[in-house]
Symmetry: C2
Subunit: 478 residues, 2 copies
């Protein structure tokens, strides 16, 4: 029998306490552990493996679109961070400062990178001289640190893993096209790989990245109706280029400033997976990034031939999917609960009677539906069942979002909607910061994005009644 | 024509100034750039791509041997670092300290990880309870920081990228077997992948890792006869386990301490590649990790059909090797020099006459030997030429090492050998620290390792004349 520490205990139900359900799941599915480093978590093998699968897909997509990986220092001198005014204002209050090296006090403080625009710019000033050197399409995989007061695993931690793309272009048009391309890649990751539907849009000035001219975002709705920003892409114009004196000789032989972008997705997206698909039995992982796609559970494994057959299946399945066979002494029921907690998409049960009939039972994690499959049909059946599971997860999440998307035509309706169940609230906006702040103050919602797919709900702003400039999705966010 | 900044300039010759040759190569082959962060370098796309290829091979080898990746925080509280006495003594003088988060002074200083034994141990104390939880075979890919006074790209930088494996075992025997297994994987990486011959051995107590009972090493000899430690593997016994109170219930139902290892290889190994294979025309890259294995140079590319043919070949070759086609306006001669500087193993030249005769010319980077190959034979010829190039690089490096391996029977011979050309000096040693220090003081050499393949040169120590315990390789090291 398993020792007590590993017994699968019940988790708090989502309906009772969504926040506690979330914390229970990340711990009990063995995604993370806490450490004595405040605000930082340990990514355990099962949690890190999800990130590796996400990385692999993204890295492939970046390389296919001509991007190259680099690595910049993790420390940034204070004077370098201060070169771009808006940027430093946004980040200085939330960085960690290195003040001593060995036993010596440093002449200049260094911050642990919260993001690397400044380092990339310094390097670009060295290597960009002519239009022939453009575009520069760089990406970096690394960890960054932001001194957060309250933290939650994946959603907000002081240190987190991410990729940060930083590119330089000859023209504004090319740079803007790059931000759109990368946002589309992020949306593809969410929808096609993680089964998480997203709304693509533009952030308001208030919500945009420090130093950016425009920030594009993909917003996903969690099971509880709150929004999660799953990836962002920024257009900087030539602001940093001017601050860092990056110039190139153009085709017309004049000196010009290049146009810049940056874009990033972090381990936060694992939080989105958990809160979009999980249920009261634990994690539900989208098949494409599940570290284990099929778990084989031998039934009555002490009987002759069962373990041999299970091992043979494992060997065979490993050629086309990520498979694990659990032949520990735990009971089948215990194992079912364990791998449900871990969100393994398919469970393959095989016992003496199945072997006799040359078949097995496949159970889908999300709906527990059982499919009896002839053993010689597994190569076709498993990818099909995994694909169907992905589609069901996506549809279910989309339905949740649609059910929780509301409309408000004025402040009263906004307040009423915001006091109801969480979700997106669509409302027209004049573009003024004052109205954005009024929505926050009176209804407790922030602007999530101005979606690319605009609807004309009214002619005027739902707050002030002045002419509306855009339809905005408002809501509560992680 | 190319702009002046990118013109390939001559580099300092190795014979004139090896250190300057090295710095010229890393800059001109575009492996690194300097930044305003003292002691840290930027890994540019070409340099980082070499690391990615090394990573990919290692990560595969680790996973095949049952290891799992995790991610630990980059910051370590001072109290945690201090838990193991020898360890903190070794590392405290060379760490960077974070003292402020945002605008607040921290109650406890945090160091940026110089290595992560302490964090792994803290986590292991949480997750190891029974012998069923063992072994734990974890690895981490990350960057670490050590506050170095003098730095050189790849060889010694304040921050560097590496992998650090940390494992826990039921018995000492299993842990020792793990250190040997990982050392063998490192040796395989060097010899079979990077064409760098290595000597496997054990470090003396003076040279071992802070907190380890035994450190195993692979030592490679650079072109200039100096030694470079290319990878290490440590056996810790249960010292850390006791300091961190990690205990498990054994098969006999008693509480026991597990036995620990750690092992690492860093971007330093790129320095070994450069200094083992490089020549006065620049880098020479071992084919298996070369970001570009074949560069196609169209000759007389303005003539009809040349660029089309080159593009067609690129498409074809990309199915079985990493290939680039350079159709820029630079002259073929300029391109030849550029890709020699970058160490690309094979250059494929194709011009109008070649096309007529349905052939091309393949030039090997190391010996500039030309091979005329029929176009329909490329699928066979390229892998063969790359394999031969690998073998030649390995042989040449091995010959250099053999030529530069000397023997000393007493201190006079040691001093004489150490004053000659650099290399390994084999000499017997009694095991006393005093003699090790005497060799350093009088001859300027340090112990590189006690090779696993021992030779019995004498009965007595070459320093003190007392009975010898081991043959040691002595030398100067990077």
């Amino acid at each position: 029998m398993a020792d007590n520490k590993k017994m699968v205990e019940a988790i708090t139900s989502m309906e009772e306490d969504f926040a506690k359900w979330y914390t229970d799941v990340v711990k009990k599915a063995e995604l993370i552990d806490y450490s004595s480093v405040r605000g930082c978590v340990i990514l355990r093998p099962y949690g890190y493996a999800i990130w590796e699968n996400i990385q692999k897909w993204m890295d492939g997509a970046f390389k296919k679109t001509g991007h190259e990986n680099v690595y910049m220092p993790m420390l940034i001198p204070e004077s370098l961070l201060q070169k771009e005014k808006d940027h430093v204002e946004g980040f200085a209050p939330e960085v960690a400062w290195v003040t001593h090296g060995g036993n010596e006090k440093l002449a200049e403080r260094l911050c642990v990178r919260p993001t690397s625009e400044t380092l990339f710019c310094e390097h670009y000033a060295h290597v960009i001289n002519s239009y022939r050197d453009l575009p520069k399409l760089y990406n970096q995989w690394c960890s960054v640190l932001r001194w957060e007061k309250t933290t939650r695993p994946f959603l907000r931690t002081m240190e987190f893993l991410w990729q940060e793309g930083h590119t330089m272009h000859e023209t504004a048009e090319e740079a803007i096209a790059e931000t759109e391309q990368m946002l589309n890649i992020y949306a593809q990751l969410c929808e096609k790989v993680l089964a998480v539907p997203v709304v693509k849009g533009k952030k308001t000035n208030k919500e945009k990245f420090a130093g950016a001219l425009a920030t594009y975002t993909i917003e996903a709705m969690m099971h509880d109706g709150k929004s999660l920003q799953a990836g962002t892409s920024h257009y900087f114009g030539d602001g940093f280029a001017k601050a860092f004196d990056i110039q190139f000789t153009g085709r017309d032989n004049t000196l010009q400033y290049p146009h810049q972008t940056s874009w990033g997705v972090s381990t936060r997206i694992i939080g989105a997976i958990i809160m979009t698909h999980g249920d009261n039995n634990g994690l539900v992982l989208p098949p494409q990034v599940a570290p284990i796609q099929v778990v084989i559970i031998p039934v009555a494994q002490h009987k002759e031939g069962v373990l041999e057959k299970a091992a043979e299946l494992k060997e065979r399945l490993s050629r086309f999917c990520r498979v694990k066979m659990d032949d520990s002494n735990n009971s089948p029921g215990w194992k079912y609960a364990e791998y449900e907690m871990k969100g393994v998409p398919l469970r393959l049960e095989i016992g003496p009677r199945d072997i006799e009939q040359n078949q097995c039972v496949l159970v889908s994690r999300d709906n527990r539906e059982k499919t009896v499959v002839a053993l010689d049909q597994l190569e076709a059946a498993i990818p099909q069942l995994l694909g169907q599971l992905h589609d069901r997860l996506y549809q279910k999440a989309l339905e949740n979002r649609e059910k929780r998307t509301f409309t408000a035509h004025n402040m009263d309706e906004m307040i009423q909607a915001a006091n109801g169940e969480n979700g997106f609230i669509k409302a027209m906006w004049c573009g003024d910061l004052a109205c954005e702040e009024a929505f926050k103050e009176k209804a407790g919602v922030t602007s999530r994005c101005m979606p690319f797919e605009q609807e004309h709900l009214d002619d005027v702003c739902a707050c002030c009644g002045k002419p509306a400039k855009a339809m905005v999705y408002w809501g509560k966010a992680y």
